[in-house]
């Protein structure tokens, strides 16, 4: 891991997510939506690195996800 890589990861539990899309509105810099409305982070899968300046927004996305499909991990 390089020094510049974010230590915080936004983990998507795909077994819970049903693509309501709230997270993509709160974190437009991080997430778009795929063909079916599910959150999509270009070049990342289930664990999306969160830059420091977006950590507060990520915390909000975790709290507001109606499906409780998001969590923050530290690596």
């Amino acid at each position: 891991m390089t020094r510049d890589e974010p230590r915080t990861l936004l983990h998507i539990d795909w077994t819970r997510c049903d693509g309501r899309g709230l997270c993509t509105e709160i974190l437009p810099e991080l997430l778009t939506r795929d063909d079916w409305g599910f959150p999509l982070a270009p070049r990342h899968g289930s664990d999306v690195p969160v830059p420091d300046r977006l950590v507060d927004a990520a915390v909000e996305a975790v709290a507001l996800c109606p499906r409780l499909a998001l969590s923050l991990l530290q690596r």
Binding site: H11, R16, D35, W36, F38, G45, S71, L73
Partner: protein
Amino acid sequence: MSVAEATEAAARVAAPTGTARLTSPGSPDLATHLATFGPLPVRAGPAVLLDELRASGLEGRGGAAFPAWRKLAALPARERARGRRAVIVGNAAEGEPQSFKDATLLRVAPHLVIDGLLTVAAAVDAHSVHLYAQSSVLESVSRALAERRDARSIQLREAADSFISGEASAVVSALAGRSPVPQDRTMRLTESGLGGRPTLLNNVETLAHIALISRFGAAWFRSIGTPSDPGTRLVTVGSDGKSSTVLEIAGGSRLGDVLRFAGIDPGSLSAVLVGGYHGAWLPASALEARLDRQDLAVFGAAPGAGILMGLDARHCPLTVAAAIATYLAGESAGRCGPCVNGLPAMAAVLGRLARGDQDPALAAEVRRLAGLVTGRGSCNHPDGTARFVLSTLTVFAEDVAAHQAGRCRKDHS
């Protein structure tokens, strides 16, 4: 039998010398097993087993090829210190339709698998021991378990009948009495698995090799095979239109030789699918390649669970691949949105290409969808399916071009 007698008896039985190791017993009963391999040696401590496995280079035979010693070493010492003893699971779910080497092993040499389970369980002072196997082998496994007292602790469970039933978190979920589907994981199973306990899953062939390595040692194990794929491995070899057979081969054997040994003429094939439906194709021109990690890496393939499926040169590869992709889409556990939606979409576009739709954008759309599903599920079913589909487009690029030009003359049935 006393320890001294058992050790002496083991010393009297010579290690198998040929390529038939796991498959050397002439009969699956305990007496034949003991006469062939000798009794299990006196239980070694975890450090000794770990060192021997490390020196052997044994890699997991369930598909992921994780080094056996590292998996054992991954059981966290702090959990043991806290008295949370580990759960050991032998995995013979084998949901892949092209594979039946695990079922064959459990019919031919069930006692080796039991020995392997007991060896690992003793080394880690396990809390409980489970064997997860498909219905077709339950009877032979039960018979073997009933033959010996030391196997009473092993709990036998019928595996779910689905492609993904053998995925580690799906196995743990099934053993816990829940739905046999993959779970979202943020912790390793070796940290928290069945009942929150550290849980160690091994494929049953891996366990059988462990049983032999603990008897005859790492140097014996490595005396067959290549440095990058030591020992023997079980493979299931077939082709479209020809039923499969299970063989025990030296690690790193050449693909063409394995096919010929199974009675398949490599000259009749356009390609071989290596690693099953989550695997990748090797074109007929590459059948001199060895079945080991190094040679296969160029093609994005790996020895995996040892599945080789030849493709008859007369058959349209896109038609065959579209049918497999459609099957895999139907085998989604149905929980993760990108997989539920993406796999059928990808299979449908590949199907249009196979049926002669000349829309020039189809191949690119298959690639885009493959990229879209990869990494976006709780298990690797979307990733494996995408790998297979992308390999199809790459290896059969000429067939794709022929379809787009409306001039594929191969058999589309």
